[in-house]
């Protein structure tokens, strides 16, 4: 039997999910993360989850891993020291960035400007210039380049990047710098912008190249260390990492392109949701991944997640494909407060995080959080399953009481208010990825996961009109599940920048075929994407295309579909010419058929799974409710709200006027009664 092991390393916990490919059964495990060296926690988890399944690590064929190591290196400024060579006149490209200051009017007063990823003292200019057609305006000069490289060498940089104006059209100058760098700085890895990102926009291209170089050593060390440890533990299988766009790449490849890993974390949940949706027969899904400090939302249409060309990490917007995940600063740890001046109830974006955490966790937190409100209302029962961890309800009550007092309202009203506000924030984020992209949320189910997603999914589904509200199997380790169930993906891109009327199908298809050939041979499938815009627009829409359709219908196949998509997204079309901006070929690994294990069927009555009677405050009053053990639920069980379903690492809330059914693989589907 072959096993796939998905591992997702979060800030607090490392989640593991071991998947038996043919039967669809799985084992899961949660172990504390070990931030100083994640591989320690991973190894502990690997041993534990293998023991649960009665196998040894050597039985694991593929190790699939979502990691935030690249993300954290960027956010915490722990990347490598990167030298940067730019065109004369552009030394301060990273210093000026896009001149953008966040916040509204007067936002500049309170904005702490982040330091550039490549320091100004490590940035040097060289002569030579390409124009906007890719022709050489002025030549480069080897002596001048050597002089710049020697200065960079003296600075002691760990990586070198080269980003010259208009290099996306002609990389000859960058290549020459690369050649000379290999002589002068033989031990320093070099990245050329036209290779990393052959696209217009000098700041974004430079930033992406620099970010890639900055995280490369960190990711490289991480991956090599992990690989070695896994080998030591007897794991001979393949090690793959989850890309921001939801595909996998080999660990070797990820050492070269770590910038593709920046949204690896959130991507796991979305790919997990796709697997769940496939098994549950739900093809359109909005995801609600509620963590401690933030919530990630994404849209899945017909079992494909929407992708974007920009990965946003902290203040940086890096050009690399990612799933279109929106993040709001609202999670279980979000702190509620009442500013004296306005007397308004605010929730977040400040968070108690993992430390000190919510008051109810008893780890020193004193400020009321969303989790505390859930405890007060009875949505999170005091004793979680397994009894290893007891929530401190009296402390949570005392904390939420301070909010109630400040507002002059009842304790429970205040607690529910905190929940309603945080739900409203999630609703806002979901609307941005659905309605604002031309989708009707009523055509989608809402899937809540992450530790707290299933607590909020019912209420948010009500706001969205997105039914059913889904609490998937193993909501707490869905990211690891996603890691385990997605497929390989490689991408190659090229700038094209031509009016549709100035090109031919032959030219376009010829280039696309060349690009497909350049992608590794063992990929079984190649998809193509073409970015199109109206000429003059500074914003393009990625359009999936097939060579067959292009050849059958001509360029019109592209422009007509672009017009349709533009209308859906933006409500109107224009008479302007179409411009074909970028071309991409995407190689996809073998599609996996990984069915979920079926749950034994029950008689519809969940009473065997009942743990005890309970009460919770909902719809303005305390109401009797029942707590169920998820592990004992059977397919077709029907649960009337209000009720709570508990499991190792997550709790599902079913509201009073709703009813939940357990599907054939164990997902809980909540609908209005």
């Amino acid at each position: 039997m072959s096993y796939r092991l998905g591992v997702d390393v979060g800030g607090t916990f490392t989640d593991l999910l071991l998947f038996a490919e043919d039967k669809g059964t799985f084992w899961r495990h949660k172990t504390p993360s070990t931030p100083h060296d994640s591989s320690v926690g991973i190894l502990t988890g690997v041993e534990a989850v293998c023991a649960k399944a009665g196998i040894t690590p050597s039985d694991v064929e593929i190790f699939l891993h979502g990691t935030t190591v690249a993300t954290n290196a960027v956010l915490e400024g722990k990347g490598a020291r990167v030298g940067l060579i730019v065109t004369q006149g552009y030394r301060q490209i990273m210093q000026i960035a896009r001149s953008f200051v966040p916040g509204g009017l007067a936002g500049w007063i309170v904005w702490p400007k982040p330091q550039p990823l490549a320091a100004l003292e490590d940035t040097f200019e060289i002569m030579g210039r390409m124009d906007a057609r890719g022709n050489e305006l002025r030549p480069i000069d080897d002596d001048d380049i050597r002089a710049a490289l020697l200065k960079i060498k003296a600075q002691g940089v760990e990586a070198l990047t080269v980003s010259l104006m208009n290099a996306y059209l002609n990389g000859a100058h960058e290549r020459r710098v690369g050649e000379l760098a290999a002589e002068i700085l033989p031990d320093v890895p070099v990245s050329l912008s036209h290779e990393v990102l052959p696209e217009m926009q000098e700041y974004e291209r430079t930033l992406t190249t620099v970010a890639n170089a900055a995280v490369r050593p960190v990711v490289g060390r991480y991956v090599r260390n992990l690989r070695a440890k896994l080998r030591d533990a007897g794991m001979a299988g393949q090690l793959s990492l989850l890309r921001s766009d939801g595909g996998l790449m080999s660990s070797e490849k990820s050492e070269e392109q770590p910038v593709s890993l920046l949204m690896s974390g959130p991507a796991g949940g979305v790919t997990g949701a796709i697997w769940v949706g496939k098994n549950a027969g739900i093809r359109n899904i909005l995801t609600l991944d509620v963590g401690g400090t933030s919530t990630d939302v994404a849209l899945i249409e017909n079992l494909e997640a929407r992708r974007v060309r920009t990965t946003e990490v902290g203040h940086l917007a890096v050009r690399a494909s990612a799933l279109d995940v929106k993040t709001v600063g609202a999670g279980g740890g979000s702190i509620a407060y009442v500013p004296q001046l306005t007397g308004a109830l605010r929730v977040g974006p400040q968070s108690a995080g993992a430390v000190p955490g919510p008051v109810a966790y008893g780890k020193g937190g004193t400020l009321p959080t969303v989790t505390d409100a859930n405890v007060v209302l009875g949505y999170l029962p005091e004793a979680l399953l397994g009894g290893s961890f007891k929530l401190d309800r009296p402390a949570a009550v005392a904390a939420v009481q301070t909010i109630a007092d400040a507002l002059g309202i009842d304790l429970f009203e205040a607690a529910r208010g905190i929940i309603d506000i945080v739900n409203e924030n999630m609703f806002g984020a979901l609307r941005m990825i659905s309605v604002q992209q031309g989708y009707d949320p009523r055509d989608f189910a809402l899937m809540g996961f992450g530790g707290a997603g299933p607590l909020h999914v019912n209420a948010v589904a009500r706001l969205m009109g997105s039914w059913p509200a889904v609490s998937p199997v193993s909501p707490g380790v869905l990211c690891a599940l996603g890691d385990a169930t997605t497929r390989m993906r490689t991408e190659t891109a090229r700038s094209f920048s031509k009016l549709a009327s100035d090109t031919t199908v032959d030219e376009l298809c010829g280039i696309l075929r060349d690009m497909a050939d350049a992608i590794t041979a063992d990929d079984t499938e190649v998809d193509f994407e073409v970015d199109v815009r109206y000429s003059g627009q500074a914003f393009e829409v990625p359009m999936p295309v097939t060579l067959d359709a292009l050849e059958a219908e001509g360029i019109a196949n592209l422009t007509r579909r672009f017009d349709d998509e533009h209308r859906r997204l933006f409500t109107f079309n224009m008479d302007s010419q179409h411009e074909i901006v970028n071309l991409r070929a995407i190689g996809l690994g073998k599609a996996l058929d990984l069915p979920a294990a079926r749950l034994p069927e029950g008689n519809g009555d969940p009473c065997e799974a009942k743990i005890r009677d309970h009460e919770l405050w909902i719809d303005g009053r305390m109401q009797p409710a029942v707590i169920y053990d998820r592990a004992k639920l059977k397919a077709k069980d029907v649960i009337k709200g209000p009720a709570i379903v508990v499991e190792m690492d997550s709790t599902t809330l079913i509201e009073a006027d709703c009813v939940a059914t357990v599907d054939h693989v164990g997902n809980i589907l909540i609908t209005l009664a």
Binding site: I96, K113, A119, E202, T342, E424, Q537, F570
Partner: protein, 625 residues
């Protein structure tokens, strides 16, 4: 005659009680609706001005026209006062004439779409958005002739008109307006974007009325306004003294050789009311630097500056308007009489913020920022290329952010919310340009414990002959420093011919002919410094010399002496700092640099331009020719 509002259902909204939680949820929902307006606009607009630079502003108002969400305050009262017609279900308005809405839009390029939202026959709300149109006709490309002497030279003026009446689109009217533009495609797309944004917000409001109940929604918006009123009342009582404080600053010139023009504001509190009085501001100019300052807009600016610190999550609204009395003399630069030209109004608009900062921070220097608002510097470049195609560029530049209590002012960033630069590769791809240099100017940020941000130098090589126009300010009167910080450097514009000849051209020039391979060095101002530069860490100064942000000579403004290797000469630095401290004496709250007389005397030598001539006004308050 004011507008008549026609409702098929005249039932007034019932006042209900709204619990605090519902109130917060509605506030969040409104905030989300506004975010959606911005998102819709950015996705659908076409011109670089709106798309790339973000020059557009949303508004959601209640049924009485008071702003519930937005940035610039409500102009709906002004619109209703000035509109001679009906407001009915199915109507949508378009306007651009500043004089028709009491200055709510401040030049004719800003097209404003206003949508009254009806529900069950009752007027429930207004949504509106205005955005900067790239070209609306008139005498110059870009439609902002800095040398205009009347608004009639500034392109098409649209009074409030219905582009939808009873739900029917008036295509002919829009066609007529677009026909005036040199860039009708951009205008059409941007107008569509404004319409789409207003519609999105209107749908959200209708949904909220359904979700919470229409009476609850209306009561809640009233309560949100009242909450702002209460908060602001408390704040004003604590922060604004009954004693008068005044602050004045200048617009350097009017583009016609006269200047500087003084803007002055005096602030005091009488009981619970704060008075902001612009008496002492110079009369209007015959040129175009007039800024028709809407009183409500200024109240909003003032309020936002006040409250930022105390509850940044607040959804700012009109609720506190009654607490503030803004007095602007008729016929002054800030309330010019029709048909005064307005196309250079960006300079006074910017300067208003420096004045606000100076007024509010005077009594609390620890919260005071230095000066750094020049304006939104503009460059226009237009012509017909060798293929016979018309090209037209309008670009907004940036300068140095002032030194702040928080720290250094960022170099080359935007003081305006949401603005970004346009990628140079984009410019080179779509315009006959090579951007030879894009950096910041060393030493241009005022020295200080917290250095002012450096201004930007952007060097445009023109590949086709054409005409350019430049609008900028802060070239004559420097951006001041505070708490010991020094003023920032001034703006300048240099035209370099292929033979290397360099000419300094003015900062407000129109219809200036350029030839192939001319290079324009467009240099903006630096932010003023904050705090004593002699207290700045010498190692940091030395590092910034290596970074090219400060020069070795510039380091001496911090009293820092560097040796041949670029390291700090500790002893020489200590000596220099002692000397400098002794010589300058005590530092004041503001450092405005030299007085006007001295600036005039040294103008040619320091700026390369003759000093502007003091404007004089006759009894009609018109600048002397």
């Amino acid at each position: 005659m004011p507008a008549r509002i026609i409702q098929s259902n005249e039932t007034s909204f019932a006042k209900t009680t709204v619990d605090p939680v519902t109130l917060e949820v509605i506030e969040n929902a409104l905030r989300n609706a506004r975010t959606e307006m911005d998102a819709t606009l950015v996705r659908t607009a076409m011109s670089p001005g709106i798309r790339e630079q973000g020059d557009a502003f949303p508004l959601i108002a209640d049924h009485e026209g008071r702003m519930i969400v937005g940035q610039f305050g409500s102009f709906i009262g002004g619109f209703l006062n000035g509109y001679d017609g009906t407001v009915e279900e199915g109507d949508m308005f378009l306007l651009s004439d500043p004089y028709s809405v009491e200055g709510a839009v401040s030049h004719s390029n800003d097209w404003l779409v206003l949508l009254p939202v009806f529900k069950d026959g009752r007027l429930l709300a207004y949504t509106a958005m205005f955005g900067h149109q790239s070209d609306i006709g008139g005498k110059v490309p870009g439609s902002m002739p800095i040398d205009a002497t009347s608004i009639f030279q500034e392109g098409v003026r649209i009074p409030p008109v219905k582009i939808y009446r009873n739900g029917l689109y008036n295509e002919d009217l829009v066609k007529l307006a677009l026909h005036q533009s040199r860039t009708p495609d951009w205008c059409a797309a941007d107008l569509n974007a404004l319409i789409a944004s207003c519609r999105v917000a209107a749908r959200r409001i209708e949904e909220m009325a359904d979700r919470f109940g229409i009476d609850t929604y209306v009561t809640a918006t009233g309560e949100l306004l009242a909450r702002n009123y209460r908060a602001m009342k408390t704040l004003l009582g604590q922060a604004i003294s009954e004693e008068k404080v005044s602050f004045e600053d200048y617009i350097c010139d009017d583009g016609m050789g006269y200047g500087p023009y003084k803007l002055k504001c005096t602030m005091w509190r009488e009981g619970e009311k704060v008075i902001l009085d612009f008496t002492g501001t110079d009369p209007q100019s015959v040129g175009s630097i007039n800024f028709y300052l809407n009183e409500n807009m200024f109240k909003m600016f003032f309020g936002i500056y006040m409250i930022m610190v105390f509850d940044p999550m607040i959804l700012f609204n009109d609720g506190f308007y009654d607490l503030i009395d803004v007095r602007i003399p008729d016929g002054s630069l800030l309330k010019p009489k029709f048909p005064a030209a307005l196309s250079g109004r960006t300079h006074a608009l910017g300067r208003i913020f420096d004045i606000l900062g100076g007024l509010l921070g005077q009594k609390t220097p620890q919260f005071l920022n230095a000066a750094g608002f020049s304006s939104s510097p503009h460059l226009f470049y237009a012509g017909t290329d060798r293929k016979g195609d018309w090209f037209q560029l309008f670009q907004i530049g940036f300068g140095g952010i002032p030194g702040r209590p928080l720290g250094d002012g960022p170099d080359g960033h935007s003081l305006w919310p949401g603005f970004t630069n346009v990628p140079n590769e984009f410019l080179e791809r779509y315009f006959p340009l090579v951007i030879e240099q894009y950096g910041t100017v060393a030493d241009s940020g005022g020295a200080g414990l917290h250095r002012g941000g450096n201004g930007i130098v952007m060097s445009y090589r023109f590949l086709e002959p054409g005409v350019i126009a430049v609008h900028d300010d802060r070239w004559f009167v420097p951006p001041w420093g505070v708490n010991g910080g020094r003023p920032g450097a001034r703006a300048r514009k240099i035209l370099e011919k292929p033979d290397g000849t360099r000419t300094i051209i003015g900062n407000k020039v129109e219809d200036f002919t350029v030839e192939t391979d001319d290079v324009l060095h467009f240099i903006t101002w630096g932010g003023g410094g904050w705090g004593d530069p002699l207290d700045r860490d010498p190692a940091l100064v030395a590092k910034e010399v290596v970074q090219g942000l400060v020069t070795v000579q510039g380091a001496r403004a911090y009293g820092v002496v560097l040796d041949g290797e670029g390291s700090v000469d500790e002893r020489a630095t200590a000596d220099l700092r002692d000397n400098m401290r002794r010589e300058r004496g005590a530092v004041g709250v503001f450092d405005f640099g030299p007085d006007l007389e001295t600036l005039r005397e040294r103008s040619l030598e320091e700026t390369g331009l003759p000093a502007p001539v003091q404007p004089r006004w006759n009894s009609q308050h018109i600048a002397a020719e």
